[in-house]
């Protein structure tokens, strides 16, 4: 059995395979996954390049990198503001992938991007997928590209080995949830609530029921995100799913420590890691 290696799995796998190795190792060890989101280039590309390996060493299993977009409709105020800061440095795919390449030289942690469809569409789906893999990305989350519009995207990602990660929402019908669970690669992104990233809403809506249903259909790791920021929530959501995704909470913590945002991020990562590791079973 593979040992879970924080900071990523060594051995040359990439794309969907790298994510599968990481999640497989975590599952084998009975551990929950921690996915952390950083906006690439916020406040500078140098900061992101330095931060990703540190967060991986501090307990993050996968890093999600935001590719800034002018009109982020799925994001709440914290990530919107981060995007507006970052877009001054990174406003297109080549600049983003240059940063990914620099990060990949420093760490083997799985990297997935979260962006919107227009930058991908302008670059071209196939060229984007090829360049993303070449730069060291393993997967992509495109929240405004729902399954029904993702025919060619899915096929091209599947062929190339980049994990096309889909989202499932509280109001997704069961039949459609099954389609999403079967289509997604890497993990299924369960949106905890009806709302945007960073929203505060307490307990996830019908989350237990959704997870139980999905478990009956697929083995795919189920990761919960949107509105998770405290260690208590990390424990609660982590216990229900295979792991959690945290973005706005991390960015807010860094904003609250302007003198040492990286130190604050590392401390926060350790808190979340400890919370997840305290889950019994």
């Amino acid at each position: 059995m593979q040992r879970p290696v924080q900071g990523g799995v060594q051995g040359g796998s990439r794309g969907t395979a790298r994510l599968a190795a990481t999640f497989g190792a975590l599952r084998g060890a009975g551990r929950k996954a921690l996915v952390l989101y950083l906006m690439a280039g916020d406040p500078s590309p140098a900061f992101t390049e330095q931060a990703v390996p540190r967060l991986a060493e501090s307990g993050a299993d996968v890093i999600e990198l935001g590719l800034p977009f002018s009109d982020p409709v799925a994001d709440g105020p914290v990530i919107q503001a981060a995007g507006q800061r970052a877009i001054r440095h990174i406003s297109d795919v080549p600049a983003f992938l240059a940063l990914v390449r620099a990060i990949r030289r420093r760490t083997a942690v799985p990297l997935v991007t979260m962006t919107y469809y227009n930058p991908v569409f302008r670059y071209g789906e196939q060229p984007f997928i090829a360049a993303a893999l070449e730069a060291g990305l393993d997967g992509a989350i495109v929240p405004d590209l729902p399954l029904v519009e993702a025919g060619s995207w899915r096929a091209l990602c599947l062929e190339a080995g980049l994990a096309a990660i889909f989202l499932e929402a509280p109001n997704t019908t069961p039949a459609h949830a099954r389609e999403l669970a079967e289509a997604t690669r890497g993990f299924l992104y369960l949106v905890s609530l009806k709302g945007v990233t960073g929203a505060e809403r307490g307990l996830g809506e019908n989350l237990g029921e959704r997870i139980a249903r999905l478990r009956g259909w697929v083995e795919t790791p189920l990761m919960v995100g949107f509105g998770i920021s405290t260690p208590a929530q990390a424990r609660q959501f982590g216990a229900a799913a295979d792991g959690i995704i945290v973005g706005s909470g991390l960015i807010a913590r860094m904003e609250s420590a302007p003198a040492d945002p990286l130190g604050a991020a590392v401390a926060y990562t350790r808190e979340l890691r400890a919370a997840l590791d305290s889950i019994g079973g």
């Binding site: 977009f69 409709v73 227009n118 670059y123």
Partner: protein, 409 residues
């Protein structure tokens, strides 16, 4: 079989390569619910009877089709008719659509309406129907637009709506629409999003066209009654493009009728400061649909520029992109200056002060009618009235009436 049905529904949301449903997963189920509800009323006579009743007795339809004799004589070419959407209650064509969507919202049991607005006309029209039907209403408006359209903000508040200021991004219409979408994602259970143009994800472009179609249906009857024949050319301004689609759709099957959309040329296409998505943009995806879009080579959406807040939008309804590609309609541009001049010209010649949006269409008629024959007919969609723009006009033309200027005719 179910999957096949789903594909068919979405295919209906495409106009050639344009349109679609590019939205977060949380909106997929609500859009399907809306599509089903709209399809149900589309075949329901009682719905359209009720809507026609409100259009006639509340909005004041049919709007006149007016032969602009002095403008025609001044231009010396084709006969110019004006489809007077400015005569509607609330002062523009927007009420046609908001009445339809509010009636649909009521049938769906949604008690809260949200809307985005640029110039404020769609916001006012939504606030109006919310008051009419006793529904809660929140209108999202860019902070910049709130500043330049203060009278409409006050009107919306008088009508009982909340006006939510949006300062993200460029603080204009596109950002207001982002924020309305974010609100909707969180409130879909009780909220109906009233989109103001033939833009957004399926079924909005199709639904808004259905509610605005009345413009062209009336104009068809009216021109046949007055002239005994079809028009040669239709002209309408295009921001998102709902008044244009409303006028055009009835005539699309009539090949002898030419269709012309007029985009906001701002300070001129060459300056890059304009809102001409078709003439100056590339295909992209924004606010749920694929269409021509003002954007950087890297795919970031660019800010639009127009003197008219209602045209100040970087995208365009997907069906317009399709009509452009197929050649069924042509799309030109008119600059800020030309639109302002046309505003003053129409005011002087016909006693009609047009909205700056509509003045783009008037300016195009002023350009093309002189070269047409006397027996040819042009219909211009006068989509709204200009009262809301007086402050803008005073700002850009402060000295127009000093020293005898403007007295020459």
């Amino acid at each position: 079989m179910r999957a096949q049905a789903k594909v068919d529904v979405v295919r209906q949301g495409y106009f050639g390569a344009y349109g679609g449903q590019f939205v977060p997963e949380t909106l997929i189920a609500p859009l399907e619910e809306l599509t089903r509800a709209f399809q149900a009323v589309a075949d329901d006579d009682s719905f359209w009877r009720e809507l026609r009743g409100y259009l006639a007795n509340y909005a004041g339809r049919p709007s006149p089709l007016y032969y602009a004799r002095r403008l025609t004589e001044h231009l010396g070419g084709a006969k110019v008719y004006l489809k007077r959407e400015d005569c509607n209650h609330t002062g523009s064509h927007k009420i046609n659509n908001t009445l339809g969507q509010a009636l649909l919202a009521r049938r769906m049991g949604k008690r809260r309406l949200i809307a985005e607005t640029g110039a404020g006309m769609h916001g006012v029209a939504t606030a109006t129907v919310a008051a009419l039907f006793g529904l809660e209403c929140v209108v999202f408006m860019g902070a910049k637009d709130i500043e330049r359209q203060a009278p409409n903000v006050y009107r919306m508040k008088m009508l009982g709506a909340g006006v939510r200021s949006v300062s993200a991004g460029s603080a204009t219409l596109k950002d207001a629409m982002n924020e309305a979408l974010r609100d909707w994602v969180a409130t879909v259970d009780n909220t109906f999003y009233v989109i103001g143009s033939v833009a957004g994800p399926h079924p909005y472009p199709t639904m808004v066209k259905a509610f605005q179609r009345v413009i062209g249906e009336e104009a068809h009857r009216q021109i046949v009654a007055q002239e005994g024949r079809l028009p040669d050319l239709l002209i309408a301004c295009v921001g998102g493009g709902s008044n244009a689609m409303g006028l055009f759709s009835q005539f699309i099957p009539m090949a002898e009728v030419a269709l012309r959309g007029v985009e906001a040329g701002g300070e001129g296409l060459a300056t890059g400061r304009h809102a001409a998505s078709i003439n100056g943009g590339q295909v992209g995806v924004l606010h749920g649909s694929k269409s021509y879009l003002l954007q950087t080579p890297g795919g970031q959406v660019q800010e639009a520029h127009s003197i008219s807040a209602g045209l100040d939008y970087p995208g365009v309804g997907p069906e317009h992109s399709y009509l452009h590609d197929t050649g069924r309609a042509t799309y030109t541009t008119v600059t800020d200056r030309e639109a302002v001049d046309a505003t003053f010209e129409l005011s002087r010649l016909e006693g009609i002060i047009p909205a700056l949006e509509s003045a783009h269409a008037v300016a195009e008629a002023i350009k093309v009618a002189p070269a047409m024959r006397h027996d040819q007919i042009v219909i211009v969609c006068l989509s709204g009235r200009g009262d809301k723009d007086l402050h803008t006009l005073q700002t850009v033309s402060p000295h127009r009436f000093e020293g005898g200027e403007g007295e020459s005719r």
